[in-house]
């Protein structure tokens, strides 16, 4: 059996993202979300700097690129803060089902901002994603009433 060269790193990314989405649930038991966000940002900057420096620091200083890059970090951190507050008070199953649907938002933004057409697969994905959101809400509502 021949394993494609891209397969091991892709599998590694899949595994690590899965674990790194789970681990905060354990950490948030002993650290409050705000404190975790500050620590996380510090560690991420240290790690990213180490990686970039070790690869020769080929970083562009284009103002538009810098602004976009920083915006990515700000959006990600606000999202992470809300995620930590969500998992602190709820089961991971519900939070993961809702928050993992962020590609729906990205696809809709790409449609409106970049004029990227929607394939039938993406359209079906958006509809299914919205149904999943409604169903998760209903499942939670049902549980609350019990």
């Amino acid at each position: 059996m021949v394993i494609a060269a891209w397969s091991p790193p892709a599998m590694l990314a899949l595994l690590l993202w899965g674990v790194s989405t789970f681990l905060p649930k354990v950490a948030v038991r002993t650290l409050s979300p705000f404190h975790m966000v500050v620590y996380s940002s510090g560690f991420f900057l240290c790690g990213a700097t180490a990686v970039v420096v070790s690869r020769g620091f080929h970083v562009s200083f284009d103002p538009k690129g810098v602004l976009l890059g920083i915006s990515v970090g700000i959006l990600g951190t606000i999202g992470q803060t809300l995620y930590l507050f969500a998992i602190r008070h709820a089961k991971m199953t519900g939070v993961t089902a809702v928050s993992a649907l962020y590609p729906v938002v990205a696809t809709v933004l790409a449609f409106f901002i970049l004029d990227e057409g929607l394939t039938w697969r993406q359209t079906a994905g958006i509809i299914l994603g919205i149904c999943a959101l409604v169903l998760t809400t209903m499942a939670n509502d049902h549980k609350t009433k019990q």
């Binding site: 590694l12 404190h35 620590y39 970083v59 649907l101 993406q122 994905g125 998760t136």
Partner: protein, 141 residues
């Protein structure tokens, strides 16, 4: 039928969905100007800038629970390695397959929650989660 958004976790989850939606979309534009390394670096700078008001709000005093700090450090390290592995995979193989494969990470998260946290799902939750995963696969393709 009226669906009540009276639970804070749901509002926080929907907020996460919106902000992570923006976070996953912006790199499409940013990578036209920046290299993956550059984006990783500025993303980290942006993350620190966003956490500064939080640090100010906390009066600069951080909890010092060792276990929590170690787990947070591990999470950040895993994230960086995952991002690099993802970029490396993208350089070697087909984008659609790789995006689909890596987008399945909630399966790992849910499996870990089942094994270590003993979280169970009722039928409605199971159906919702299955639909969410199917939606992710469709969107990634």
């Amino acid at each position: 039928m009226i669906i009540k958004l009276n639970n804070s976790w749901l509002l926080f989850s929907l907020g996460t969905l919106l902000f992570w939606g923006g976070w996953s979309f912006l790199p499409k534009i940013a990578l036209q100007i920046l290299s993956p390394d550059g984006l990783l670096f500025y993303e980290a700078v942006g993350g620190l800038l966003a956490s500064l008001p939080v640090l100010f709000f906390l009066n600069g005093k951080l909890e010092k629970d060792r276990k929590g700090i170690i787990i947070t450090a591990c999470t950040s390290s895993l994230n960086i390695v995952a991002i690099l592995a993802y970029f490396y995979a993208l350089r070697l193989g087909p984008v659609a397959t790789i995006v689909t494969m890596t987008a399945m990470y909630p399966v790992i998260t849910l499996a870990l929650a089942r094994i270590f946290l003993r979280e169970r799902m009722n039928r409605l939750q199971l159906l919702a989660t299955t639909m969410a995963l199917a939606a992710i696969v469709l969107l990634a393709g």
